[in-house]
């Protein structure tokens, strides 16, 4: 398969998959099989492109001319390759997990769920491979709309309210700010192509650059930079696989990925560092890192805490881009990968806890680690990776981000990274400690049987069903859930040892195209 065909196939395969998912909607097994096959095929197709990019090739394909002189174009480069690889690779894992979760949780409208999921992945890959800003913008909006039914999946009033916040902020910022920025760029530069070194003419005034980058960074609301971060905690009403893949990986990473793309290929670091246009945004990102961590500490709901943790972690990447240094950008890009594996593990664990024990609040999870040892061990691994401790992948991205901060002489940001790590410890580790070292709440022994009965009455076949493990006091989630989260936890460890190839793969984005 030629690279250009593979690019198109990577975007189209999930869409074809979506059609087959709808067609097989009546049979749950066939539908889930289609999802898994589609995810695997997509990943294989994306993977075939890896070598070409590593060799420095930049295949480009234009699909159609949308507006005169402006087409839907895909161009491959390391950053997009990384993002597409992560999104499609973790899609397989999430699909496995989702099958276990959605069945274990007896969710409704599963066909709609898998269909929208496939469309969302297709648009995430479209964003990853976008060759110009128009293409990116188009897929960005498709991603927002295709995830709306996922956020409002349960159809409750709470979901409806969350959907309003979700759509209001994401559409509001993208049309209100990003669209203006894109058209403005088109007017000033006469092109929207992503090019090494940026496309804005050198003559552009510093004041305009400040405004324009502000429009972009806030217009890309998916990056959840404060004060436009409210949509992300709101989106947590969605089923956990959605929170895991979309709101820890695909959607939010699409946001920070876009910011990296814009700062590298639209502005160029030369322009940004010369004018200092992005400095104020770096400080806002730093404040977001700290504030969101502080908010996370106050949340008792596990998914809400993880959401605020994500808000905080995303700003690492925004900060990396706004430093306007090559090494900082590479660090930011690596953090896309590291955080993806760490946070998806945490969300998988949160979902597994919910399926197995129906607990959502951290205060209820005391002693739960003894019943779900695998889940809680993996949670610890994911948490340590987010914190950035060896031997886990998260340490490397923080390392390069700090190097970037040092290179630009902004030592205050290194302090921010350090404080943030401490805060991460403070809000993530106690969950595991509570789970393992404290006894379960007192009433639990007596009440346990009663608890089981009520669940069994509520959703027959749930507790003690064939999917659930109940061996010697261990009550883990369905096998497919546990398998998925073990896999991603292992990924966190593997990334620690294989960070150098990743670094070398990404290096061209820092050096302006020359590998």
């Amino acid at each position: 398969m030629s690279p250009t065909t593979a690019i198109l196939a990577a975007v189209v395969v999930p869409l074809i998959g979506a059609i087959f998912i709808v067609l097989n909607g009546r049979s749950a097994n066939a539908r889930d099989a289609v999802t898994l096959i589609t995810a695997t095929v997509t990943f294989v197709v994306v993977a075939t492109l890896f070598d070409d990019v590593a060799l420095g090739m930049r295949p480009t394909v234009t699909v159609l001319e949308m507006l005169p002189g402006l087409g839907i174009t895909f161009t491959l480069e390391p950053l997009g390759m990384l993002f597409a690889g992560i999104a499609s690779g973790l899609w397989i894992v999430t699909s496995v997990y989702a099958v276990g979760y959605m069945r274990g949780h007896h969710e409704i409208n599963q066909t709609r769920f898998y269909t929208c999921f496939a469309i969302a992945i297709s648009s995430a890959i479209g964003i990853a491979f976008a060759g110009n800003m128009l293409t990116l913008f188009v897929f960005y909006e498709v991603l927002t709309l295709s995830t709306f039914p996922l956020v409002t999946h349960s159809g409750t009033d709470e979901a409806k309210r969350a959907g309003r916040v979700y759509l209001g902020i994401l559409i509001g910022t993208s049309i209100g700010l990003q669209l203006v920025a894109v058209v403005w760029t088109w007017n000033v530069a006469g092109t929207l192509d992503f090019r090494d070194g940026g496309i804005l003419p050198g003559s552009i005034s510093a004041g305009l650059t400040v405004v324009l980058i502000g429009l972009y960074v806030y217009g890309i609301g998916k990056a959840a930079l404060m004060p436009f971060h409210r949509w992300l905690p709101a989106a947590m009403v969605a089923p956990t696989p959605v929170s895991a893949l979309l709101h820890a990986v695909a959607v939010v990473k699409a946001g920070v990925f876009s910011i990296l793309k814009v700062s590298i290929y639209i502005f160029g670091f030369d322009l940004l560092s010369r004018t200092g246009a992005s400095e104020w945004l770096a400080f806002i990102a730093a404040s977001t890192i700290l504030l969101a961590s502080l908010v996370a500490m106050t949340k008792d709901n596990l998914k809400a805490r993880l959401a605020y943790s994500t808000v905080s972690q995303l700003s690492y990447i925004v900060l990396g881009a706004m430093l306007a240094s090559g090494i900082g950008a590479v660090g930011g890009a690596m953090h896309i990968a590291m955080h993806a594996f760490g946070k998806i593990t945490l969300f998988f664990c949160a979902g597994a806890i919910m399926v197995a024990s129906h607990k959502t609040e951290i205060s209820q999870m005391r002693g739960l680690g003894r019943k779900m040892p695998i889940t809680f061990t993996c949670f610890l691994i994911g948490a340590l990776s987010i914190i950035g401790l060896p031997p886990l992948g998260g340490v490397w991205s923080k390392w390069y981000l700090s190097l970037g901060a040092a290179e630009t002489g902004q030592l205050v940001f290194i302090a921010v990274f350090m404080i943030s790590s401490l805060l991460n410890i403070a809000y993530l580790v106690p969950i595991v400690v509570n789970g393992f070292f404290f006894a379960p709440p007192e009433e639990s022994d007596d009440d346990h049987n009663h608890d089981d009965l009520s669940h069994a009455a509520g959703c027959p076949g749930d507790v003690g069903g064939p999917n659930q493990w109940k061996v010697r006091g261990i009550e883990e989630a369905p096998l497919m859930c546990v398998g998925a989260l073990t896999f991603t936890a292992a990924g966190c460890i593997v990334l620690f040892f294989y960070a150098t190839p990743l670094y070398e793969f990404l290096l061209p984005i820092a050096t302006g195209g020359t590998p």
């Binding site: 913008f137 909006e141 309003r164 049309i175 058209v183 403005w184």
Partner: protein, 493 residues
Amino acid sequence: MIAQHLPILQIVLPLMAAPVCMVIRHPQVVWIWATLITFLCLPISIALLVQVMAEGVIVYELGGWAAPWGIEYRIDKLNAFVLVIVTAIGAVVMPYARRTVDTEIPVSRVYLFYTMLLLCEAGLLGITITGDAFNLFVFLEVSSLSSYVLISFGKDRRALTAAYRYLIMGTIGATFYIIGVGLMYNATGSLNIYDLSKIIPELGGSRTIQAALAFLTVGLGLKLALFPMHMWLPNAYTYAPSAVTVFLAATATKVAVYALIRVTYTIFGTVDILEIVPVQDMFMVMAVIAMFVGSLVATYQVNVKRMLAYSSLAQIGYMMLGLSFDTITGVAAGIVHLFNHAAMKGGLFMALGAVAYRVGGVRLEHMAGLGKKMPWTMASFVAGGLGLIGVPLTVGFVSKWYLVQAALEKGWWMIAVLIVVCSLLAVIYVWRVVEVIYFLPASKVAQEAKEAPLSMLIPTWVLIGASIYFGIDATTTLDVAFAAARALLGDGG
């Protein structure tokens, strides 16, 4: 031979076919006849557009009398484009109309309905095609009178007052227009638009010409429902029969906008009168107010049809805003939005017509829970709504893109901000309905509803499909719009 006479055929066909309906009278046969005629009109207009794009302006002298004494039809890129819009909408509305007419109009009057619909189409086509200012007035009256009748066909008795109100306002508009034409005739001795565009610059800014311009713009402003001359529109759209709303919303205001473009850009295009009387600036102010007021009021409506009517006011504001920029990008954005809005608003009103047909009303409570009952109709409504918001891959995005670009080209970033703020208001009024459709359980009235019949669903999706297709590949429509804009601004016309 026939190719030569296409311009006149375009008008004569629907004009002559209308009285034939009176003779046939049988409801089904009349419908077949009317549909056939509209199907014939569409290829004619497409042929004309192709010819104009390839060979330039077509001039057709009626009865062989040379202008400026005789009446001439003068087709350039702009009106060829508008002709296609009108005939295309006509050809989609007719098949759609049959089912709605069954439920909304007494059998004994069905033949009158089709007569009027054909007359209305003939009138609108006449306004578009003619190169004669007085002849334009005649067709204006033909289309207006027939649309008063069409609106009064509405089942709700309030349709009568709505039609009456439109009658009063429309007549004032037409009268103003003819006074303007009279003043021009007084000063120039000519009624031919092309001729006028040559003579008026010589007269400069005489008081008579200024007065003529004032009367013409106000008169046409009433017809196109430019804020604050829009009071007739919401009720007229709300209470008219479904098919009529679709037809009028997608064509009538567009043709009035076209006529206004003719007056300001062709007749008065090169006169420095526009500096004495800043028509463009006034348009801009009114357009921006229309965008805001229309969108804001739309967010408060409980009747979805009325909501879309107010949204139309806002969209007319977009068109006028584009024209008021007086640059090629701006005018092209306005022109392309004529088409884009016709496609999406036509599709939206069709979806509502289907709801009225199945559920019996189009208030929010009727729409509740229809996401499950009428999935295809509701999907078309959502797609059309996304177009109103201006989401990429819909035509609304294309219009918005060029409007923002035109504003930024001129350095008016405030206007660019206003444009996007208005599209965000559209998010609110569209999503209100979407939530009702998908999140509320079906109300008692909607309990029995089922998917709309294919004869309504297919036309709906033709228009919505067009609004998506031309949003993904907008090069065709934009080429025409830019060519038309260049011709308007470039050759002194």
